[in-house]
């Protein structure tokens, strides 16, 4: 359980990035944090694994105040995958890269081997085991970064902009993957601009603007609220735009998913899917 209580954060250069954010994320929840650039999304999640310390207010992870423990200690519980994989890859092989964190946490060699195998398999990287991460493509590097975090099986997984630079096929795999993680009762938090990705995954949405939370709730409700979405300078998902336009014809207004939209339209006009 993550509890953010009236959190304020000001960067050393004087930029006030968070202004009174309160949020609760239960175990096993899937949350997307959205908002335009500079809304404070990344600043907020960096508080959850202790990389940033509150200027005011506090952040509790499983009732532990994040200021009381080191980042490395929190990291066991909170896995954080950074936006740019190139900011963390440094080993000679993919295998070593994945075992880096496991060694930092002091796992035994046997466990390290098992975990590395498991993570390689999980992200479909087994064939690259002995390859240098720098030789891989952008999407593959991103997967290595993800594997290197999932390897120690953290309870909470934070993904910062996971869909950037991924083709549609990779995105679909990522979606399935997140659903799978979520099914294993892991808390998954994604920070993203990708409204279509969110519309497909349908997590709980937290909408931020100017360092504050302007709306939170089910994706269906938040992403179809014209006013709210405008306030956060986010564009409505395409399906939502269509259905908001069809509202006068008696169609439901809270549709954001392509498949659901298809079912409704086919149901109305007849035909088979």
């Amino acid at each position: 359980m993550i509890k953010v209580e009236d959190l304020y954060f000001t960067y050393p250069n004087g930029v006030e990035a968070l202004r009174g954010v309160s949020l609760e994320i239960k175990n096993g929840e899937f949350v997307a944090i959205m908002g335009q650039n500079g809304a404070g999304k990344t600043t907020l999640v960096k508080h959850i694994n202790g990389l940033l310390r509150p200027t005011m207010g506090r952040v509790l992870v499983d009732d532990v105040d994040t200021t009381k423990v080191s980042v490395a200690t929190l990291a066991r519980k909170v896995g954080f995958v950074f936006q740019n994989a190139d900011h963390q890859l440094f080993c000679e092989t993919v295998e070593e890269e994945i075992s880096f964190a496991l060694r930092n946490f002091g796992y035994e060699q046997k466990t390290v081997n098992e975990r590395v195998d498991w993570a390689l398999n999980l992200l479909d990287l087994t064939e690259y085991r002995k390859v240098s991460p720098f030789m891989l493509s952008g999407g593959e590097r991103k997967r290595v970064a993800l594997a290197s975090v999932l390897a120690w099986d953290p309870k909470i997984v934070i993904l910062d902009e996971p869909t950037i630079g991924q083709d549609s096929q990779q995105k679909e795999r990522l979606r399935q993957f997140i659903t799978q993680l979520n099914r294993q009762a892991k808390t998954v938090i994604i920070v993203t601009h990708d409204i279509e990705f969110v519309a497909e995954c349908q997590p709980r949405v937290v909408l931020m603007a100017g360092g504050e939370i302007v709306g939170k709730g089910e994706a269906k409700n938040i992403l179809t609220d014209r006013e709210l979405v405008k306030e956060a300078s986010v564009v409505l998902p395409e399906i939502a735009r269509v259905f908001l336009g069809l509202e006068d014809l008696g169609f439901p207004r809270d549709v954001i998913d392509v498949y659901e939209a298809g079912r409704i339209l086919l149901g109305r006009f007849g035909g088979s899917s």
Partner: protein
């Protein structure tokens, strides 16, 4: 990254900022030469002090203090290394002499950092490039130089992000012995270097696609022109240089321990 902040250009409206970078550069070079010329604590300390009015006029005191704080760690290392090596191999008569010598070396380092910090704090990379260019340095070299200077803060930011990313993977940067601490920085240095190389290749491509170097003869929007105060600074610098050369050759500089009561 407080150390780097002490060298990052601050756009402040001050008489020093508006000066010709060539004059300032000459001043820094003179200070550099003079600093290396002296081996005694008193003149070096005076060199440290005479730069402070410069800092105040430029109103960059806060940033300057930061550069001083940032260099404190290196200063301590230099002090301790000198102390140890002089103690074991120096053949100095007393501990006070060793202490003074170590202190001298440390102050010399601080003076060097101080002068460069003041120069970079008050001179924008563009002005610097302009100064080089108008001193007839080939444009390619000037460009490489200004780009390098301009990317220092970018790299500093990136280093911070990389540190965060590795800490999130359980890397403990603090603690451990000296070797362990150095080893800890490998996961930070490798991505930093790899990204810097990648970025430079990308930069080269984007520059070329924007027709960099298409015209052999370049003109500049701004042309540097030395004014009276610039000549003043050059004059002061020459004066410092001449006086220092005179003092270091003809005047015996007392060391501090001579003022100690005899034992």
């Amino acid at each position: 990254m407080s150390m780097f902040d002490g060298f990052k250009f601050r756009s402040v409206f001050s008489p020093i900022h508006k000066m010709d970078p060539r004059a300032k550069f000459f001043y820094v070079c003179v200070l550099f030469a003079v600093t290396v010329m002296f081996n005694q604590l008193i003149p070096l300390f005076i060199l440290f002090l005479i730069q402070i009015p410069f800092v105040v006029i430029a109103s960059v005191e806060r940033e300057w203090l930061r550069s001083m704080k940032g260099s404190a760690l290196f200063a301590i290392i230099i002090f301790v290394m000198n102390l140890l090596s002089l103690h074991f191999y120096g053949g100095y008569p007393s501990f006070a002499a060793i202490l003074e010598r170590s202190l001298t070396m440390t102050v010399r380092f601080i003076v060097l950092v101080e002068s460069f910090s003041v120069f970079f704090l008050t001179t924008s990379p563009d002005m610097l490039g302009l100064a080089l260019e108008q001193s007839r340095v080939p444009y390619e070299l000037c460009f490489a130089f200004t780009t390098a200077v301009r990317f220092v803060p970018v790299l500093a930011d990136e280093a911070q992000t990389i540190m965060d990313a590795q800490k999130a993977r359980g890397l403990e940067l603090e603690g451990g012995n000296f070797i362990k601490r150095i080893k800890n920085y490998i996961p930070i240095l490798i991505p930093l270097i790899v990204n810097a190389i990648r970025r430079s290749l990308e930069l080269a491509e984007t520059m070329e696609s924007r027709a960099w170097g298409a015209n052999k003869k370049r003109t500049n929007l701004y042309v540097l022109k030395a004014r009276r105060k610039d000549y003043c600074l050059i004059l002061i610098s020459i004066l410092i240089l001449v006086v220092s050369i005179y003092i270091s050759t003809y005047v015996r500089i007392p060391s501090l321990i001579e003022f100690l009561p005899a034992q």
